[in-house]
Symmetry: C2
Subunit: 406 residues, 2 copies
Amino acid sequence: MKNMLVAQSGGPSAAINATITGVIDTGLEFEEVGHVYGALNGIKGVLNENFVRLDEICKDPATRELLAVTPAAALGSCRWKLKNPEEDAREFEEIIRILRKNNIGYFIYTGGNDSMDTVYKLSTYCREHGVDDIKIMGAPKTIDNDLGETDHCPGFGSAAKFIATAFTEIACDCYVYDIPSVTIVEVMGRNAGWLTASAALARNEERNVPQLIYLCEKAFSTKQFVEDVKEALKKENNIIIAVSEGLKDAQGRYVGEEMKSGKEDAFGHQYLSGIGKYLEQVVTDQIGCKVRSVELNILQRCAGYMLSETDIMESRNLGAYAAVSAIRGESGKMSALKRLPGKTYGVDIVLADLSKIANVEKTVPIEWITEDGHDITQELVDYLKPLIQGEVQIPYKDGVPQHFML
Amino acid sequence: MKNMLVAQSGGPSAAINATITGVIDTGLEFEEVGHVYGALNGIKGVLNENFVRLDEICKDPATRELLAVTPAAALGSCRWKLKNPEEDAREFEEIIRILRKNNIGYFIYTGGNDSMDTVYKLSTYCREHGVDDIKIMGAPKTIDNDLGETDHCPGFGSAAKFIATAFTEIACDCYVYDIPSVTIVEVMGRNAGWLTASAALARNEERNVPQLIYLCEKAFSTKQFVEDVKEALKKENNIIIAVSEGLKDAQGRYVGEEMKSGKEDAFGHQYLSGIGKYLEQVVTDQIGCKVRSVELNILQRCAGYMLSETDIMESRNLGAYAAVSAIRGESGKMSALKRLPGKTYGVDIVLADLSKIANVEKTVPIEWITEDGHDITQELVDYLKPLIQGEVQIPYKDGVPQHFML
């Protein structure tokens, strides 16, 4: 009997704890598994041997239900890039030593591109060095929906539901005044416009909001933007616009780059801010009507009160499948979603090859953006819509949502 | 038999449509009332005779239930200040002419300070000019909770619930990294800190978040703020801070004034933005740890998915009471909430004198702010807590909340 270890990495999402719950469910269910450990703060927690006993903490099913609907990452996260083992294998050796010391035979790591890079490197190292007593599996997560080899990513559906809902509410808010107004809503997404595209799900028969959508996959022209807004204002008084935070111009430079903070994270990503504020200034200067910008900010990734039932169910199943696969002897793969053909939405859970996933970003296909560059196609709407369906009842205490806390 | 007219004014809130619903309920119920009209875009809609037949549109109880949980202001709003009648009485005469032309005997106006100013002027003009066939009543509304003569204001409880919830989610999000970090959350409120204070309702036995709360009622010192943050970082890694958008220094100047847009609205209020960004810069420069600012922005006033059941019930009752009072012959007053003494929360609905309300801002009593200036007292928590209690189930369609639309 071997123990199981689970850890989380990358940015928080509303569904990553559901994936952890799926792992714990499986660990408790299968007699091949002894204890279920959680490492705190991702791979750093493994290196520091900072473990908690999740099988004990989450023994009660009610606790697991609460964990499954708690946003962010209950075990904590990290941004820690393992060194290339050919240059420095010490971290790899140390991880293997610690896992063996704790009799851990199954290690499930949940996260996005960078985390899958960790799983890939670690499992490859194990394979190449004859370590076959430790199975290492990935479970996907990223609100950005930019992982390859899976139809979509856990956490994305809930974030998309929050964004679509926010646009319906912002529409209600903007419609109250009968003077021309422009509202620019900045949505997360450096290189992938999936979240921004989700704004289109706010539309219904009565309300064509947002009227303009700009994804970061298509080169952005401030001049054309001004024309688009002027045109839209001819038809309606209240224009609501969705923009990806990572809009770039035809030369690939971030739009409004001068307003960016310039900081970089451990993976070399630059923190972005300010496209909304930049375009607000553009409208003020070049159109002159009432204008404001709204940054949805971190609420879009951590709103545990706006969960997609589809997302939470799938996330939990993906965690369980990664864990079951490890028990069955799989290693170096990621559990993934494969959409079934046909009009009715359905998915199969499959195993995907990590070499095709690590450090690859899946962006919105350019043919899913309309030719005029300021909207998305029906195909993209059809892809997105099933992912936000269903609501999850969450427990409240004293008027605020209750969360699992370690 | 006289007709009834209802209109909305001021900024959107999550509960003002519940108040309108209470008026419509009453108009439909009482045989003294013929049609129930809604004026579009507040007093401007009255002046333009831009009316809709709410008794027909909202005949079906299900439609009224939907209206009651739809955020913003379904009839539209305006920011229109009536001229002083001693200088120019033409608008007053025109309003009276239009109301009489439509056989309107009861006019209910919902809104905040400025709207109550309109009700006060108009009802005073009517009384002084012998117009006794039109009864004009106010119903309160303002997320800022700054109206006098009422224990609290419709719309505030739901906004406070959204803010408290947002802080619980932001706490989950911030706790995932084990490096020192500061998150500054900017909350609406020019001169009244009630909404910012509501952040304290995110606290529970496990989580003392936000650790620092700064209300605009107390002079703010950037130097002291830096000391407070440094002190807090000695005890914990992740510091979350709630700040009112309208923080002022000891000289009464807005903090970070240089980052303000400088625009003014029709009532001479200056639009504020940037205190969060300003303090983010201060922390970067003077402390140097990871820092970010979050502006809750318009979602805090229009989040129809985070309604306080207490707020929505009270708002609807206040609309109904204003309407019933008009039918009974009252005029020039506002329906208001009087909190009952004792430990168990309860309110009476009463009529309040408009002369004490119009253009007066009720701010947080200074004794409800702790002496160190960075927290609120238990008395204030006890005042706030009942107002966010209870959740409202809202209808969803295709994964997003459904709203009433004219």
